[in-house]
């Protein structure tokens, strides 16, 4: 089973899709390899968080996703 990468908010615009599938396993370097140009920059931005199966990673560079996992890229939420 592949890994699903989910793009939230404006990252979906940058990715041109709300989600894509990638081969398992996936670490932080592997994820950045999948993300081109501004999307990669946005992923690296301090305020962009990463969650695996709905659980936030304290340190996104420690990403270690396996078969069937869902990896979400979460940009800063919008203001009120």
């Amino acid at each position: 089973m592949p890994i699903t990468v989910v793009f939230l908010g404006k990252l979906a615009d940058l990715a041109g899709t709300p989600e894509k599938e990638v081969e398992a396993p996936l670490d932080w370097e592997g994820l950045l390899d999948e993300l081109q140009g501004p999307l990669g920059d946005a992923a690296m931005a301090d305020r962009t968080r990463v969650a695996v199966n709905g659980e936030l990673l304290a340190d996104k560079t420690a990403l270690s996703a396996q078969d069937g996992d869902e990896v979400a890229l979460l940009p800063p939420v919008s203001g009120g």
Binding site: L8, G9, K10, G54, L74, P76, V77, G80
Partner: protein
Amino acid sequence: MARFVELLTEPFNPGQFVGPFTNAHPGLGGVCTFVGEVRCDAGVEALELIHYERMTLKGMQELADTAIARFDLMGLLVVHRTGVMRVGEPIVLVSAAAKHRREAIEAVDFAMDHLKSDSWFWKREKRADGWHWIEPRERDHSDLARWA
């Protein structure tokens, strides 16, 4: 104690939630309710709220639990829209029932600050030239800092 947390994809009438919520808490001292609507801002035709199914609702439930524990509440109701909304449509409803008014009012204030800037929602506005993402605001951080 009753905790109601809902994410809705269709328009809702706040009164349909607040009436039953209030009636579910006989003996309360007060109920404070906030309803946020899509504001009429020049040039804005519609607002879209994007959420992340598996994190957004869980985050709202955790926020509700935090508010209930922090303020001495009898009940808390949190309803939030997602999807595309027009001017005047309700986006969010928070209602807190408590023995004393200050707890009810402060719980609503607390919940709104956190829903607005510490929940997994992303917003964009439709203007004549298309959709525009709404960025975080400095005011939101100072609002949140009040509760630290």
